[in-house]
Symmetry: C2
Subunit: 341 residues, 2 copies
């Protein structure tokens, strides 16, 4: 054989060998590694259903096969990937920023909504249909600065703020079983997205480091920035113009805006995720999977979602779950661990 024919033949031989050995490995993976990947889960119905679903949509011989570009999975954040108590973590950020500024600025401290924050007077902040007080706090802490300034502020906060119940940093409180779901889906060719009522700019600061989800796969509440040249340098200033709240019926709208096609997997935890669960699973020409994290664990986490006035209330979506085949995750029973050590 000439050198080039020998090279080509060796290449083909080596490729075949690798393919064969990898095929054996893949089969092994189908047997055991899904269980291994989801090891913080007890052997519950939801875990089994998720594994069966993933195997079906990834199997080219299955009638349920879904090509990789369409393997899109969306996850709510607060209450689904990490806790939302005693307040959603982004609110803890806003309150900390307001309190810090009030300590150094007597004029600012006189503002009635700043006073409400300092006194932890949540009813005043939430008064009115549009929660005007809270919106004012959001405006004080999330607008008027450049994107970079905001990113620096969030980054500094999350590197040191401590959660009152766990005495740990907020970014150390992601749910381990859900981190495993993210990793398991990505290992099977899924693109994982956050679709949250929280601010996109807030989450993008740490989503890649904490969840392995890059900024472009974070969909959240947002407003238009304003482009300016300052001393010839481009700057984007945060405003509240065209404020979009990525919650309830806004979630499918946000998904369409950013992705342009339907996801096939959706995890949520409250009635705020109802529309996104419906959009993912009802009338989807592709096979789909919907699941709800039900907060039943008052010891390891919180028990709160059945209260009609809870900010993370789960009443309508829970009632619709059996009709639509959505899987309800009982945190207390289904998760062997809630957090990593």
């Amino acid at each position: 054989m000439s050198t080039s024919i020998f090279r080509a033949a060796s290449f083909v031989f080596a490729c075949c060998l690798v393919a064969l050995l990898m095929a054996q490995d893949t089969m092994a993976q189908l047997d055991g590694s899904a269980t291994e990947a989801l090891k913080s889960w007890n052997d519950c119905a939801t875990k089994q259903a998720l594994i069966a679903f993933v195997q079906r949509v990834c199997d080219p011989k299955s009638s349920d096969f879904v090509p990789e570009p369409e393997r899109l999975a969306v996850f709510d954040n607060d209450g689904t990937l990490w806790p939302e108590n005693p307040v959603p973590f982004q609110l803890a950020y806003a309150f900390d920023v307001v309190s810090k500024r009030a300590a150094n600025d007597a004029e600012f401290a006189k503002h009635p909504m700043v006073q409400a924050v300092l006194k932890k007077d949540i009813p005043t902040l939430l008064a009115g249909d549009r929660h005007e007080g809270l919106l004012q706090v959001i405006a004080m802490t999330h607008a008027g600065m450049s994107v970079e300034e905001f990113q620096k502020s969030v980054s500094a906060w999350i590197s040191q703020a401590i959660h009152p119940k766990y005495n740990k940093r907020y970014d150390q409180l992601t749910y381990l079983p859900m981190q495993e779901v993210l990793g398991y889906l990505r290992a099977n060719g899924f693109k994982t997205y956050i679709v949250s009522g929280g601010g996109a700019d807030f989450m993008r600061v740490w989503s890649e480091r904490v969840y392995g989800i890059p900024p472009e796969q974070v969909i959240g509440s947002s407003a238009k920035t304003k482009f300016e040249l300052r001393d010839g340098k481009p700057v984007l200033i945060k405003t509240l113009d065209q404020l979009f709240v990525d919650d309830k019926a806004g979630k499918p709208v946000g998904i369409h805006q950013s992705i342009g096609r339907r996801p096939i997997v959706c995890f949520g935890n409250s009635d705020g995720d109802l529309a996104m669960l419906q959009y993912t699973t009802i009338g989807n020409p592709r096979p789909s999977f919907g699941a709800i994290v039900h907060h039943t664990d008052e010891v390891r986490e919180y028990l709160y979602d059945s209260a009609p006035k809870s900010s993370g209330k789960l009443i309508e979506a829970l009632a619709e779950a059996p009709k639509q085949g959505w899987h309800v995750i009982d945190m207390k029973l289904d998760w062997a661990k809630v957090y990593s050590e």
Copy 2:
């Protein structure tokens, strides 16, 4: 050797062999395949600069190395990836839809802006600062229907509408040298995005098939859809609410909204792309590359961008190009071919 040791040893051997052969291939690629990948380009300064830039940012030993998740490249569409004459192709779509409906609906045909479309009376459509007439035509053709209905309509149109100059389908008129740039960047770990003043929903129908760019990497003008359940099935209805025009200073805003970080490569063709070129290249902590497609070829394409009233006018950005180091592509001189055969 036991079977498992034999398996492991074969695996390692095969991997090494493949790695060796692939390394040889990679080296070959660095030498010749960039030129091969960009073969519709003459050997111009822009082509050389692009190849040098890509090699630099992909070389882990270079101080200009950029990790893969940050290799983001943005492309304007109309006039950059395909022509925008005699009218932007999306306008040709809107005019065709209006004309077809007018032929079957006498009442609709009486509308003054429908009359303007039928008479090709562009000044009437563009009158006023906000181009109210044109907006009315956009509303008639881009709102009030479901996302799926709109997608079907665009899909049907693009599969048969014919461009008046070339007597070819619009989707057969993408610039071959730019298709090569898209492919070359992707082969080097870049994520390619469209950032266009055109409608995101319009482009997403065919962007994956035509450019290999999936819907989630298409940023364009858009408005909020409205989520509804119809007979229990989720539907997204197109509206003109919170209309966002992804042009001029809107382009960096759209990029931040969808991606959340700065691109490092930007190709545009008009003053509508000036802000996006500035945002990509000025004060970017990463190395960056900006380029402008200059429409200089009246025979193979069009010669139009120096006219102050042209919709694709290139005056400010062309003046700023030498100051900012943006590469100006002279279509007539730099492209060996404009279209594929």
